[in-house]
């Protein structure tokens, strides 16, 4: 997995709540057996509208997406974080996320940051006020701050997820350190409840 440490990037304000994974990557782009190339399908329907934020030249090269609550609801498709990553994003900031999207993101070195609703509001205002508004997302310090450092917002993250992201660790490798425990659990379960095997 790719590491995530510090990210300094332009913020794209996507002022919508409940952005679902069918919008992030419509199904007509799911028919691939690879993990790459999904950027083309990112918000494909919405991008048909010339006014849509991603079509505005000033957000070219942006790496941070800003959205409203319940981002990533709907299907379990991991193609959603893949598409965001493939397009160039590394982080999305929102007041809340749907569970499966949230989990999928971490597996790909893509950081979902939860900030309070008023903090997200403030970032939307900054985006509107300052073209090319950038923030620095520092995973180790768990902060989001504008590049001039005029303020900083703190976010929470599970220590285990943070550790994996900072070091770009392969989760399967980590789990297999417990292979003996898994085997022991399995043996006991098989003896007690053989009908599950």
């Amino acid at each position: 997995m790719v590491k995530f440490t510090v990210l300094n990037g332009v913020v794209v304000p996507l002022d919508r709540a409940n952005v679902d994974t069918d919008q992030i990557i419509p199904k007509q782009y799911l028919a691939s057996i690879k993990r790459t190339g999904f950027g083309e399908g990112l918000f494909a329907e919405w991008r048909k509208d010339r006014e849509f934020v991603l079509n505005q030249p000033r957000f070219k090269g942006a790496t941070i997406l800003l959205a409203r609550k319940n981002f990533g609801c709907g299907s379990s498709r991991e193609h959603a974080p893949w598409a965001l990553m493939d397009y160039g994003f590394r982080c999305v900031i929102a007041p809340s996320f749907a569970d499966i999207f949230f989990t999928n993101s971490f597996k790909n070195g893509f950081l979902p940051v939860v900030l309070r609703e008023d903090e997200v509001d403030r970032l939307f205002h900054e985006c509107a006020a300052f073209p090319g508004f950038r923030v620095v997302v520092d995973l180790d310090k768990q902060t989001v701050a504008p590049t001039d450092g005029s303020f900083a917002m703190r976010f929470e993250i599970d220590p285990f997820r943070k550790y994996c992201l900072l070091n770009g660790l392969d989760e399967i490798g980590l789990t297999l350190r417990h292979a003996d425990k898994i085997r022991a659990f399995e043996t006991q379960r098989k003896a007690q409840h053989p009908w599950y095997f």
């Binding site: 409940n18 799911l30 997820r161 989760e171 399967i172 425990k181 898994i182 599950y196």
Partner: protein, 469 residues
């Protein structure tokens, strides 16, 4: 003093990190063609083998055509869909499974229909699948939820999921449902009440006399849409209905083992004084047939109501969401739901494609014709076995005589990855679970309803209150 979810969780924890991140053992892994290819590729690249092949039950369902089966693989016109189907075939040959129902097999079908049908979903299991509607299996007192492709690979390689414990929520539905009101209406009413993020972070247990009175099919419909309320998992405790359903199914235990299993399964319910972080109660008698009007399942009203007016919404983000939804749906505020005319009807999906759903829909359609403004009304059984059963009962004839199309099993127009789609602007009465923009085809407009409501809409050409049918 534990909830059902607590019990399921406790019986599967292999290891816990200091921060609460746990390794959870997985009993059943359901695999389909759209979310597994990259996982198997990952295994191959890392030189890893699946941990326990006999935990895997696989099928191709998401993008398989519902016509042209007589042409074999040639009938899959979309070359990418075909590649995914062939890739699953190849992966099954290379890695294996407990059982695999390939495209064209007579037991093939929607993964969430065939698991229970085969008795491959048993109470007390942890069940995962790279599909968010895995919550369906919770109807059997399983801890069942959707996972992403990296997790599919992780479960294949380690038989465990890295996860954290969720919170407990109980939704009680008490009392008797009125005639014409179905489990689909119950779950739509629940989502309307708690919202599409209301269950985020929770495992929901459905309880109360109305849930107890439901068949397994009905409970599956309710659990299926837990994810539409934001909850990864939904579940119902074991009772006689659960046990009856499982008896004699192919992968259910037999003989003395069956007796032992049943004794254990009977413990799989919440203790009387178990604590839930959140409880919600609905009066079953007040639930009416529901119809969604917008682009998220929480945008739902009873059929005798009207499209809501965004001007009455105080929250600005919500109001804008409503306005966008109305524009997308081509609807005006305050339009009575029963005035909405439709172009297509879809009866199918893992929410409502089981035999009971088809029987209910057929009972409405019997001896009638679909309305002339309804271009297509299609019935897509959830599995080959459901289809066979329906044909034995003559349901296919009833639908065909009424001008409906009788298709081969699969996900079909639930997500339109195969050729079954809405055209831009087309309006559909659908028994599926998602009404997101473009879900059933770019520009398509989806109204989620129960099978009887969909059937009645096909006949009338617009929504009707099935209670007055």
């Amino acid at each position: 003093m534990r909830t059902l979810y607590d019990k399921l969780w406790d019986s599967h924890v292999v290891h816990v990190e200091d921060d609460g991140t746990a390794l959870l053992y997985i009993d059943r892994h359901l695999v389909h063609e759209v979310t597994s290819a990259q996982a198997y590729e990952g295994l191959r690249n890392a030189g890893r083998k699946p941990w326990r092949v006999d935990s895997v039950v696989a099928t191709a369902d998401h993008n398989t055509p519902t016509t042209n089966w007589d042409e074999g693989l040639e009938g899959v016109r979309d070359k990418f869909a075909r590649l995914q189907i062939e890739t699953l075939d190849a992966n099954m040959k290379e890695f294996g499974a407990k059982v695999y129902f390939p495209y064209l097999d007579k037991r093939q079908g929607i993964v969430h229909v065939i698991g229970p049908e085969q008795g491959a979903t048993l109470p007390g299991m942890t069940v995962v699948c790279g599909d968010s509607h895995t919550s369906t299996h919770g109807a059997f007192a399983c801890l069942a939820h959707g996972i992403g492709t990296s997790e599919v690979e992780h479960v294949l390689a380690t038989q465990c999921l890295v996860t954290r414990k969720m919170k407990n929520m109980r939704v009680n539905v008490e009392g008797q449902l009125a005639r014409g009101v179905t489990p689909k209406d119950v779950v739509l009413a629940i989502i309307g009440r708690i919202g599409i993020a209301g269950g985020t972070g929770y495992a929901i247990e459905y309880a109360g006399s109305a849930i107890r009175a439901m068949s397994m099919e009905g409970r599956m419909t309710v659990c299926n849409m837990s994810i539409e309320a934001g909850a990864r998992a939904g579940m119902v405790g074991v009772d006689d209905t659960t046990i009856e359903y499982l008896k004699g199914r192919r992968f259910a235990p037999q003989g003395a083992e069956w007796e032992r299993a049943v004794a254990y399964w009977r413990t799989l319910k919440s203790d009387p004084d178990a604590k839930f972080e959140r409880e919600v109660t609905l009066d079953a008698r007040e639930i009416r047939p529901h119809v969604t009007w917008g682009t998220s399942p929480e945008m739902v009203v009873p059929v005798d109501d009207a499209v809501p007016d965004p001007d009455k919404e105080k929250d600005s983000v919500r109001r804008e969401g409503m306005e966008r939804a109305l524009q997308y749906m081509g609807l005006k505020p305050r339009t009575p739901i029963t005035d909405i005319r439709i172009d297509k009807v879809f009866i199918g999906s893992c929410t409502n494609s089981r035999i009971e759903d088809l029987r209910a829909a057929a009972s409405v359609v019997r001896g009638r014709r679909k309305a002339s403004n309804v271009k297509v009304a299609m019935v897509v059984p959830g599995s080959g076995l459901v289809k066979e059963q329906a044909e034995r009962e003559g349901l296919d004839r009833i639908f065909r005589d009424a001008g409906f199309e009788w298709r081969e099993p699969g996900c079909s127009m639930c997500l339109g990855m195969n050729p079954d789609r809405l055209d831009p602007g087309e309006r559909c009465a659908s028994t599926s679970n998602r009404n997101f923009e473009g879900r059933q085809g770019a520009g398509g407009r989806t109204h989620l309803v129960s099978p009887v409501m969909a059937a009645a809409a096909a006949i009338a050409g617009h929504f009707v209150d099935i209670r007055k049918w």
